[in-house]
């Protein structure tokens, strides 16, 4: 009997050790509403991206604070913000006073959800996702890194322009926060002197919802529901009255219209070129250089990923050729053989650290992609440095414009040089990461990361060393993964930095520094 008791107790202890020492598995960033380090009261004078100025969208003056109309709104707000249900409290705590963070996470989650490569059909052909038939199969979009970089750029730019406009009218009309007019209205977040009309939260909700709906047409119900909860949280938290919110929605609608107009004309819709065009691009490389890239999958994918993404309209680089790198070393040359041999040596003696770096930065299919990875790091710094929503939007906007431009520059080089991957040049070479469906030179991860790190170093100078080291590590990770030569990564980093210089030049002139 004693034995049975002892046995049972040890068993219970082991079950405990297997199941109870488990780590929390966060599904979103754990932060609470915080006090902004600065309100950027002149933010309404900053230079928008899509509009000539912050006054292009016209917002009428609100009713006076002592008007019956506004007093009725306050009374309504007061009753809505009191006696919240459990789920209402959760919503208020989730969205916080910087809901930009949440919409960025929603964007990243959708990128991960849709970052699935189209499978082959039973007859060995491939059907590509189509915006005209989003349900597919395969579903639209395939949120690969170029697609995701562009999605994030439009999202962030529209958020930024919307908030510049909101800031402009906030300080022009200077309507105090509801709790300042009526001290009995509960306010869930940190009090500050930011005027409440128009609602910055409503701008963010509408812009984010509508840009993401355009980018993820199968997610309308989900995005509507998220926006509705977000808009409701503005009332539940005591942040905004109805007219604050309506004015914010008007800005949001105007900005997203401009953003989507740009998007519809930026040539992304023709980036996934048909096979004849793709074949002609390959033939040009053969004629110019004598080498070419071929997809190595079975069945072979007839066209690489977005051969004409390099022709998509850039945000801040006048012409993609301005940042096009020189050619890679020819296969068979001593310079090429040195880097090829390095890949073989690494594959043979891969260390645990190298493996970890390869996986840490892999951000491959089914994930938020490298642009998503850098957005996540930006988000963490935004919270660390307690940026207000406008300042946060500026960070994301310049980051994501640089990242998208970097993608365009990289794709231009990839298809101009059409350089074969290691698994094509080295027969029998095995890798620990899957080789993507596009040419080798230059490395997309390296280019994205080089650009992202420079923008973050500019915005967060005290983190410059950290983010630049990350970019180098991200570039190195592709070598450890066996899918890029060192020259792909090193030149990619340089191109990314060159692209970022254009972005930063624009940022330095926007009035925010």
């Amino acid at each position: 009997m004693k034995k049975i008791i002892a046995f049972s107790i040890s068993l219970a202890l082991i079950i405990g050790s297997v199941t109870s020492c488990e780590n929390e598995l966060p599904t979103y960033f754990n932060y609470s509403a915080y006090e902004f380090s600065d309100l950027d009261i002149d933010g309404g004078n900053w230079q928008p991206i899509l509009f000539p100025s912050s006054t292009d969208i016209v917002i009428d003056a609100p009713a006076a604070v002592n008007s019956a109309e506004y007093q009725a709104e306050l009374a309504e707000l007061k009753s809505s913000a009191q006696n919240l249900s459990g789920s209402q409290v959760e919503a208020v705590e989730y969205w916080t006073n910087n809901p930009l963070i949440r919409w960025n996470e929603i964007a990243l989650e959708l990128a991960a959800k849709y970052n699935l490569i189209p499978p082959p059909n039973p007859d060995g052909t491939y059907t590509l996702p189509s915006a005209a038939n989003p349900a597919g199969p395969p579903p639209f979009p395939f949120a690969h890194p170029p697609y995701t970089s562009r999605m994030l750029a439009y999202l962030s730019v529209a958020q930024f322009d919307g908030l510049i406009t909101a800031w402009h009218y906030k300080y022009e009309y200077d309507r105090p926060a509801p709790y300042e007019t009526d001290a009995s209205i509960p306010y869930a977040y940190k009090k500050n002197s930011l005027p409440s009309y128009p609602s910055d939260g409503a701008v963010i909700a509408i812009v984010s919802r509508d840009i993401l709906k355009a980018m993820f047409p199968l997610e309308h119900d989900y995005l509507n529901a998220r926006a509705e909860e977000h808009l409701n949280s503005l009332t539940w938290s005591g942040s905004n009255t109805t007219s604050d919110i309506e004015a914010g929605k008007a800005i949001g609608t105007a900005v997203k219209t401009a953003a989507l107009a740009r998007a519809s004309a930026d040539k992304m819709s023709s980036a996934q070129a048909p096979k004849p065009v793709s074949d002609a691009i390959k033939q040009s490389a053969i004629n110019r250089f004598g080498w070419w890239w071929d997809n190595q999958e079975s069945p072979v994918r007839p066209v690489g990923l977005t051969p004409l993404f390099g022709q998509v309209t850039m945000w801040n680089v006048p012409n993609v050729v301005d940042v096009r790198p020189g050619p890679p070393p020819a296969p068979g040359s001593a310079e090429f053989e040195k880097d090829a041999q390095e890949l073989k040596d690494i594959a043979k003696n891969l260390t645990k650290d190298q493996r970890k770096i390869a996986n840490w930065w892999s951000d491959g299919l089914g994930t938020y992609t490298p642009p998503g990875h850098w957005n996540r790091r930006a988000k963490e710094y935004i919270i660390k440095y307690e940026m207000n929503p406008l300042r946060a939007a500026r960070t994301f906007a310049y980051l994501n414009m640089a990242v998208m431009d970097a993608g365009i520059a990289c794709w231009d080089a990839k298809y101009y040089y059409h350089f074969p991957r290691p698994i094509q040049t080295m027969v029998g070479f095995k890798t620990i990461l899957g080789t993507p469906n596009f040419p080798s030179y230059t490395s997309g991860h390296s280019t994205f990361s080089g650009a992202a790190a420079e923008v973050l170093a500019y915005i967060f100078p005290s983190e410059a060393q950290v983010v630049r080291d990350w970019a180098i590590e991200a570039a190195e990770s592709r070598i450890y993964g066996g899918i890029h030569y060192r020259f792909d990564s090193e030149v990619g980093l340089e191109t990314g930095r060159a692209v970022a210089a254009y972005t930063i030049a624009r940022a330095e002139a926007d009035g925010a520094d």
Partner: protein
């Protein structure tokens, strides 16, 4: 006779270890106090189709997948009705399609304690009941998040099993067992993954599982050859499905229904080989989810003596 039964213990344990997620002793036999058994088994599982969710597909970028398992084991009788077992498989994986590198290394170390609660004879009928607890933990920091090439699930695992057996005339037996497998988390090397939503962490929850087995066995040639047919179900109790044309991951809901045959020959009449036995096994996955439709062949050798 007893000796054979003691040997069988090793055999069955090794045989059960064939499933990478279920190294579960599931027989009804005990070793006597101070008896010790060494065993070594090789098993090779191959598949060229796998279930993506519940949809059986082929993938030419994997081609034919092969998992080889080399498993040394030692078992010891602490008392006549309390045994302890220790095993650690060495696993090697590869595929003949695509460019992804295989993996190799020691997988998990497993410690098993087995307690015989009931053994009653009613003339020619024998009924027994046992309880088994097995604890496993990774031997090295192999990467679980590299499926299907990963060596194992990379998590601590506790299996609690109940076994019941009926044996007639020491010639034929029917055994059934049921187990619950608690699994912890596995640490992976990427800071984000998607599991029906974003996960901002390097840890993944590996789903718990249930295992049910029915085995019909019998003896031939004066107890020198034993043969068994088995039906085995191993199902995760939760988890996500592999997404379309995507890699599997340790959070997946894995299910397998498998039939198997097993034979073991004991060198009873050849003096120099006394204490040795050889065994062979075959099994086939019939139905599954988020797993390969594997065919396994195995062989092994055991040696047993009193300490």
């Amino acid at each position: 006779m007893k000796k054979y039964l003691q040997l069988i213990l090793c055999m069955v344990i090794l045989f059960a270890g064939r499933l990478t997620y279920a190294q579960t002793p599931s027989d009804a036999i005990m070793m006597k106090k101070k008896e010790i058994c060494f065993a070594f088994m090789y098993d090779q599982g191959t598949w060229d189709e796998y279930w993506e969710g519940t949809n059986l597909i082929t993938n030419e970028n994997i081609g034919t997948f092969t998992r080889s398992t080399y498993m040394p084991m030692i078992a010891y009788g602490i008392t006549n009705n309390l045994n302890v077992l220790l095993s650690t498989p060495y696993v090697s994986t590869k595929s003949d399609g695509g460019q992804l590198a295989g993996a190799q290394g020691f997988q998990d170390v497993n410690v098993t304690v087995k307690y015989e609660a009931i053994k009653k004879d009613f003339g020619k009928h024998r009924v027994s009941a046992l309880g088994v607890a097995q604890f496993g933990t990774p031997m090295s920091n192999y990467l679980s998040d590299y499926m299907p090439y990963s060596l194992g699930l990379g998590t601590q695992e506790l299996t609690v099993r109940a076994i019941g057996q009926y044996e007639f005339n020491k010639l034929i037996y029917l055994r059934a067992s049921a187990a619950y497998v608690w699994r912890g988390q596995t640490e992976v090397e990427r800071p984000y993954y998607y599991n029906n939503g974003s996960y901002y962490t390097t840890y993944m929850d590996v789903p718990n599982a249930v295992n049910y087995q029915v085995i019909l066995g019998g003896w031939l040639f004066k107890h020198s050859l034993r043969m068994e047919a088995s039906y085995n179900i191993m199902n995760s109790v939760e988890g996500d499905d592999i997404r379309r044309w995507n890699m599997p991951q340790p959070t997946n809901k894995m299910e397998a229904t498998q039939v198997g045959f097993f034979a073991q020959y004991y060198f009873t009449s050849i003096k120099p080989l006394k204490g040795f036995s050889l065994m062979a096994s075959y099994s086939q996955v019939l139905e599954g989810r988020n797993m390969g439709k594997a065919t396994n062949f195995g062989g092994g050798i055991t040696y047993q003596f009193t300490f």
